[in-house]
Symmetry: C6
Subunit: 240 residues, 6 copies
């Protein structure tokens, strides 16, 4: 079954939306609108499709985040009141000590998430971002294990999730460590294509297991209605 993201152009690129129960990596550089796009997926879920949605962040305060999203026409306070939107997070100054507090064990964080998901019947999840988690891992194996534990548990609970990954400026990488794309069922990439006098936004579906999808790099804009994707407009990159 396909679950529409509620972003018209992107849903058309996806031939209807995301497959239910799958984990998708949403990657892109600083300032490409990853959080906004992910939030639209949740907001549309909660408000338009009546599916309980969960936003998990370790980096943003609720106050700032709600203000920013209001600027894109998403009233998260209202969404919250409907009981179909849950916000977990706020910035953690000292990650390690936070980890310690939740029982010195990454598993506890996963369990905490599982509990909320079950209790509230969550269908859509966003984790913004996985960079902090991967930064804490001591090596590639640990990194991969931490991510697999999260994605497996979310899949097992039937959630469709977006994992946000901030990529290095100017690179073509799909993720920070080149591990993240291993544990997911799909990868959507936002590029800021450097052109001679500006950075042009482009979105591409790099991988999407179990479904057909558009293959080209499409233009998008960050507007005061959030991300708008133009599925007919191609972005051209320079080729090295």
């Amino acid at each position: 079954m396909k679950m529409p993201m509620g972003i018209e152009g992107l849903d058309r690129m996806l031939k209807g939306g995301l497959l239910e129960g799958r984990n998708i990596l949403l990657s892109g550089p600083c300032g490409s609108g990853k959080s906004t796009l992910a939030m639209q997926f949740l907001y549309n879920g909660a408000v338009r499709y009546h599916e309980p949605s969960l936003y998990i962040t370790l980096e943003e305060t609720k106050k700032k985040f709600y203000e920013d999203m209001a600027g894109f026409g998403m009233d998260l306070h209202e969404a919250e009141k409907t009981g179909r939107f849950v916000f977990i997070g706020g910035p953690i100054a000292n990650i390690r000590s936070y980890m310690d507090k939740v029982d010195a064990n990454f598993k506890n964080m996963v369990e905490e998430i599982q509990e909320v998901v079950k209790e509230r019947g969550i269908k859509r999840v966003v984790i913004d971002s996985v960079n902090l988690l991967t930064m804490l891992a001591k090596n590639d194996e640990e990194r991969r294990n931490a991510l697999a534990m999260i994605t497996n548990s979310l899949s097992a609970l039937g959630c469709t999730s977006l994992l946000i990954s901030e990529t290095k400026e100017g690179s073509m990488d799909l993720s920070r460590y080149g591990i993240e794309e291993f544990v997911v069922d799909g990868v959507i990439v936002l590029y800021l294509v450097r052109q001679r006098n500006k950075f042009v936004p482009g979105i591409v579906i790099r991988k999407m297991r179990g479904t057909n999808h558009d293959k080209e790099i499409r233009y998008y804009e960050i507007t005061d209605k959030g991300i708008v994707v133009y599925p007919q407009e191609t972005v051209f990159m320079s080729i090295r």
Copy 2:
């Protein structure tokens, strides 16, 4: 003796198929269709050529994988019932502890595979992927030894095997660590050739001991019948 892969265009590139008893590296970036191509090799083996086939994965759940493959017209439940298709795996959240459970010894995993191969008379094997195995190794020597142990034992049992390796986005590497290609008899590479507005799939046979083969980069498509290779259509890369 040549063993057809059952992917017409690719078999033509291979002048009939793979040599029996050989280990082939199948490498390519995220989203290039490695798992699908490899599964077609097994499915065609089991269904069309009546050769028992074995799929080993440490990364995918059976449920998701069977769903995805159904989307390419491969009914793995049916294949399984014929007794000529075996699936081993499901995602392992914590690789090291799994390794430990199977006797803290990589050899046990190899022995387990050998047992299944003998018992079921397996002729075709896919390991999806070797990245996790190489990620666990502490250095190049260990990496090479682990791979050699697997490939040697599969060869000794007369299996023809595909080892899947996911390469780094945008690189021209043949494998993750540059070690994997040492222990195999052939290398088939999938590229997603970055062009100005999309990523075009291309397949090339980079090495194939003991047999002649096509040398050009050929176009392929991921269709709802799986991978289709066009052995007459060349893909052009930009040259740095």
Copy 3:
């Protein structure tokens, strides 16, 4: 609420100025005028908008810095007398020992800043630069934590702050370690665009949460009135 920086062209690019209470990364290579631009933000704040402003540096002596800024028409001695400009700093030869003196604890430095901010009702803050702080950190996690502690505490006190980051010559990086951009609400980048016979200054707003902004790389000059931004003049980069 928007807070004008008092640099006309840049304020126009920002559609009025910076959002109050946000942390902005100001990055650029050696010699691009980061300190001058940041000081204009404070000087205009103190003198034109009557908002108490704080400049924190671990690298410059007050004497040299005041002399240099006088060359751009900013009389910091006068500004200081109004009670709306505070300078903390002077070069620290041995950073670690300084850190030790303030109680071997980075938190003390943060608390010291908080105290000044509260006492003087500071609204605008510049930290010049975060490179020394990140250089001291032992790993990416520590680096991120140190920066988060500063930005969170400044935000909590309602300050709008510029964090200066010197980038590597010739790179397109947004910061020294690729971590700094994680903990801020916006990123303004100064480039010295290498052209065939000189380095041409260009400024771009790479990210600015919660507000619309200009997306192109604009020309600026370092004049004897400080930085002058030309919001209509585009700078063209060569594309690799």
Copy 4:
């Protein structure tokens, strides 16, 4: 005295062949035909020039290797029966333990080789490949010492030897570690020149002490008679 390799085009490039008693590095990427070329040197030695020849491999099984070479028209079983061809090797799954078995001492392996050389009057030697040996070394010094020990002992016994080195895909390196070329008297390089739609084989003599030689990159083919070199046909590389 010059010793013909028996590969006509290459002998012409070498103005007659290799100098007797010298060590030559034969390097190239995966799939460039290094083993085949080296085996032709030995096979021609044994069969055409009646010079006892020795092939040492730690990576290939005798069975597979003999099959593959039969595909190039070289009957190694027959060659063996003449008493002028010796094969040592077969794949070693665990190199370190093998090393240990031969007395935990690399010297023993060298002595073993020396013994065979003396006993059988070996004139031509191929070591396929030195990558495993260099992979085992802990640093550049150890790497260089291991290689020097082998090459010096072979030279001292009057053998002309080819040391095979697999280079990294897409690089212009002469060897894996950039150390190997130090301890040899000559370097022959096989390239797979990436062109827009295929990889074109090219061979060049990069260094050959004590003799004049062709300097251009020449075209070669892997045919069912083995490597055929076209000393008049130049391969053109793109220049970065």
Copy 5:
């Protein structure tokens, strides 16, 4: 107050010379004439402007250096006799042991310099080069501290100083470790611009706090009168 360097073209680029009491990084690759340019700054200071000048080197013998400079028309023996030129140095074979001798403490070297500066009323200082100092440091923090200690103490004594830094061949770096430019008030860069058949010298002022300056890359020559700068002639670089 501006202090002329006595190199006409460069003084014109600097709109009169260097600001007194400032530390300038003079960087460039091997063979670009850094020592000669720096010595001209001192020689002109001592002979033409009657300002006591100090040359500190850990790499050159006095004999060789005086011979070389004589070749550029600078008679250092004579300059020394006027009492306005001081040479400290000569090559140190073992830096660490030298450091140890001067009390195992880098501070002693700084104090030694301070003493000479006070005693002789030194106004101009050259340190040739800072590479050895930075090479000794264990990490970026130590590196930065060592340099800051020197530059701060020289500034405090009112000296105008040039710190020579040799950059890596072919790079666009401003210094060896990318730290050096942090602790100075200005950066002058010498390039050897690789053109198709030679290396063309070019000089640019990359940063100069507190003063306006030329922004283009200008041509210069190493003549038998030392460095001659052509402030009207632009050097064109290829842009990647």
Copy 6:
């Protein structure tokens, strides 16, 4: 005083030859003819100019080296008999143990050289190559110290010396570690300029303290008379 190298074209590029008592780095990639050029400097010294000359190698056997040089018309046996040519060396399989034998102390090797120089009145020295020495050093500081100890002691004895350094294939580096050029008075570089179908030899004087010199990249050939330099023929490189 200038000392002719006896290679006509190169002496013309040097405006007569090398300055006496100076240390020159001779660098270039594998196969560029470094040893041959350096030997010509010594052979001409011994035979044509009657100056005692010393060749030090840790890599070549006397037998092979004398054979190779005979191929360039240099009869080293004869030269030796005149008493004006000394050969020290032969390949050292295990460098560290050699170092140990000569008293576990690098200084002893230097003293040994000094003794020979004094006893035989050596004027010209070649060390082929410094790569092994630098490879043994544990860090940049040790590397620099070892080289400085050698060059200082040779200079002190009035020797003019060439230090051979093999550079990495395809790089523009001046030496293996980027340290070697620090401790010398001049740098001569041999390039093998990659052109579309071959590697063209080019020689350039990158630095030569105390004397004027040619600045262009000149063509040279490796002939049966040794290196021949064409000081009027320019080699053109592609510029990235």
